[in-house]
Each structure stands twice: as C-alpha cells, then as structure tokens.
Symmetry: C2
Subunit: 249 residues, 2 copies
DNA sequence: TCAAAAGTGTTTGGGTTACACCCATGA
DNA sequence: TCATGGGTGTAACCCAAACACTTTTGA
C-alpha cells in the first residue's frame, strides 16, 4: 500500500460521549472549541486515531487525557462517515460512550480541562454543537437508554455507596420516565444486584436512607444471561392520558 | 490537511454481511479470495470506501455490484479497527448487514459472482474466514438476532408471498430457538402485520397452506412505537432440562 | 386410506402495574 | 411538632407458556 493512493486521503477519529450523573441529572462532558472550524461552539471530546493505535485504545486515551480516569465503562456505538461532515477534509469518526462517576473528578488534569464542562444532557440536546456532534450525541444517548435496559450498567455512574432513591433518579434521568417507588425497589431487589451495607446517610435533614453497593458477583451472571429492565409504565400512562383527553373533548 | 500527515496512512473499508433465507436455513453470502492475503479462504464481500462516497453508499454499492439488488435492508453494525487486522496495512472496516430475498437472485451479475456462494450461517461460523471476518460474522449475526426481536425485519428475507410455517422457520433459524406453532401464530397475528391473500400453496403433497403478505402500513406503526418479540421459552426449557438433570443424578 | 403438514383454544403462572399510609430523623 | 423524604404489601391484570387433536390435501 502506498500513500499516493487516493484511498489514503481519509482520516479517522474517535469521539467520546462521556456521561456522568449529578444532582439527579444526567450530564455529558463537552469541550468548547478554541479554534476554527466551529470556534466557540461546544463539541464532543475526540481526537484523530494514531496509526498504531486500536480504536478502543484511542477512546481510552481521549478519556484519560481529559479526565485522568482509567478503566472506565466504554462502548462503541456507531460510525459516522458522511463525506461532508468535516469542513476541512474527509474524516470518519467512530463514536463511543463512556460512563464515569462524577464523584471521581477531584481534578481534571489535562490542558483540555479549562474548556471542558458538564452539561445536562437534555439541555445539550438543544445546543447547536460543532460538526455533526448533535446527531452523535443523540445516537449515543439512545444507545445508553437501550443499554441500561439490557445490562446493569447504571452503577457505573453512581458513587460506590448510594441510596435506592439515587438509583431510581438515575434510571429516571436516563430513560426519561418516572417510576413508582415500590415497584422500582421490588424490581431491583429481585435482581439481587445490591448489597446492603448496613450504613445510612449522614447529615440529611430527614430520615436517612440506607446505603447500598453494587454486588459484582451477581453482575457477571447477568453478563451471560442477559438482563431485562422492561418499561411499559410510561407507555400505558401515555395511552391513558390520551384516552382522557379524547373523553374530555 | 495534507497527505504526508501520518494520520492519512489508514484506509477505510466496508464489509457487508448479506443474509438470505432458503430451504429453512439462514444463509450468508461469502466470496472466495482469489489473491493473497488469505488466498483460497472465504471472506465477506467488502471494498475500500471511495474518498467521495458515504459509508452507506459504499455498502450499497458493494451489494449492488455483487447481487444486482438495490433498495435492500441495510444496517450498520460495528467498526473493527485493530491495528493488525489487515496484514498489508492499517485498514479500518465498518460492517453492515443486509437482508435480501434469495428468490430475487435470478442472476448474480458481476465478476464477483463466479466466486460468491451462499453458506449456511451455522456452517460458516465454523469456517476459518479471511482477516477477522469470523468475528465480524459473529457480531453481525448477533445484531440480526437482536434486530429481529426489535423490529419486524424478518419479512425482508422472505418472498412476497409466504406461509405461516415459512415465517416461523425463519424466526427459528435466526434465533436458534424452536417455537410452539400455536403461540407463534397468535403472537404474529396479534401484531396485525400480515395480510391474508386468500390464496393457497400449490403443488404440495399435503394440505396447502394459506399465503400471506406483509402489510407495510402496519409496519410503519412499529417503526415509531417499537416492537417486541419476547422470547423466554428457550430459557425456561433450558432451566427445566437442567433441573431434570439434577434430579436424575 | 395413508402420510404429511395445516390449522385451531384453553388453562396456568409469573411478572408488571396500580395504589396509600406510616416511619424516622433533624430542625 | 413539623417538614421531609424513607420505607413497605397486596390485589388486579395481562401476556407468555404449555399442551393435543382435527382437518385438508395429494398420492
């Protein structure tokens, strides 16, 4: 193979959608572009892939350079390769999403850090992002919604000790649905994924909640067998609302 | 951007897993490699992506060159980019699967045709394929299994008129599960996806089955709402089998 | 009349949904 | 004692699963 070959005029990059969870809200880490094209707009963290680097390695590198974190949940989502997606040339990009615990962010070490900022996902979806990053964000958010119903990955976003209510708020934020408290607890408990730590919250102005941690042993069982977090409540509620509306008209 | 830049030493390809269904068996179209590397091994049809060509366009082009078919169901699955996956250089490949009606294959028009051959998927999974194509095949077969539970895409693999039994065999071949005839019919009928053609099979040595076609209008409803083809039978059967085994020991 | 596949209903059980009140704590 | 969220059980319902015999046709 040689470099004069026109097939080698294409570059490829990795874009990394980094999700976090804080204050009951699902967040995504964006970077303000300091240079053209799209200077001043928010963009997903990403970089060209080195010639001797695997795709996942590149995704991990971007993540570590930006956040200092390693060994983070990472999943490839989709590859975007429209001819005109990058104004300066042909760049095909592979998107990944990763799930991090915002509690781990003591410092954001790299030079990127000054421009990086957490944004609520719902708000970021309304931004005009650089390149086709709005579509990428959308696609990855959908992939996360799907994954969370399929594998117990939600825990990747929570601190090591958490309350049931925090867990429920996390699922609600990701799936954009509200759950019944009792049914939610029943469902999660029946999965046997949680370990009761026999500890409680401190410093809260109300009855303190019990703390749980995620039980890795059970997790691996689901890795093999699959996991189903069925959600029909929202659909039914919606239907009933529409029937009501019809009846009232 | 310029061509001396080392980031432009990478090429992009698309590999296309073409599924068909015939004689109760799920098939995949493979090509025998006529040149090194991997000369003589079976490989997935694929090609480098032209510099001015979108990824999907490339996937469709490969499909059309090989089969003469256009407007075929096509879905991106995963991107494979291990540094050493191609012995002659860095080639990142985006995999797609497509679903075709084998009945449409009057001729296979291109020069590829003489080397292309349908293989039963289960057998092809045991082959040593060129490059990392065995992993790609596996990944795409899993993606198909998933998609078929999620959207009514099975019809893409059947001729325009088909019997209930053919449809059931198709689902069984894809999901590698056997279904109860009555439950299967009930489930499909409740989805209201089929149109009874008031015709029957001809020339069969037994009671002829009714012919159905797929009803596009209903389909679009599922496109929006989602579609669930839940399958628990297999799991339960497996569990019971294991309990039996335990009881007998 | 036989072979071969088509066609058809009902019961059971498990899991999801709906729903409301008391409890523990800090202020 | 009050405000705030924590924590708990039961009945109804729906859907998937299990299961066996009759029907229709061609040979």
């Amino acid at each position: 193979m040689n470099e004069q070959n026109p097939f080698f005029k294409t570059a490829f990059s990795v874009d990394n959608i980094i999700f976090g969870f804080d204050e009951g809200d699902l967040k995504v880490l964006l970077i303000e572009r300091g240079a053209a094209p799209f200077k001043g707009l928010w963009a997903l963290p990403g970089d060209l892939v080195y010639p001797n680097e695997d795709l996942e390695t590149a995704a991990n590198r971007i993540l570590e350079e930006l956040t200092g974190l390693r060994n983070v949940y990472l999943e490839q989502v989709h590859t975007f390769g429209a001819v005109d997606r990058h104004p300066l040339g042909r760049v095909i990009t592979v998107s990944y999403f990763s799930l991090v615990k915002i509690s781990d962010f003591a410092v954001m070490p790299s030079s990127f850090a000054k421009m990086a900022k957490w944004h609520s996902v719902t708000k970021a979806q309304e931004f005009k992002l650089a390149f086709d990053h709005d579509i990428i964000l959308d696609t990855c958010f959908n992939a996360l919604k799907h994954r969370v119903r399929t594998r117990p990955v939600g825990f990747e976003l929570l601190p090591p000790k958490f309350t049931f209510t925090e867990l429920q708020h996390l699922y609600e934020a990701i799936l954009e649905i509200e759950f019944d408290k009792r049914n939610f607890r029943k469902k999660i408990l029946s999965m046997n994924l949680l370990k009761d730590l026999n500890e409680v919250q401190e410093g809260v102005p109300h009855r303190p909640a019990k703390l749980y941690k995620f039980d890795k042993n059970k997790y691996s069982k689901f890795e093999a067998e699959g996991f189903s977090f069925e959600v029909k409540e929202a659909k039914k509620k919606e239907q009933r609302r529409m029937l009501q509306a019809l009846a009232n008209s």
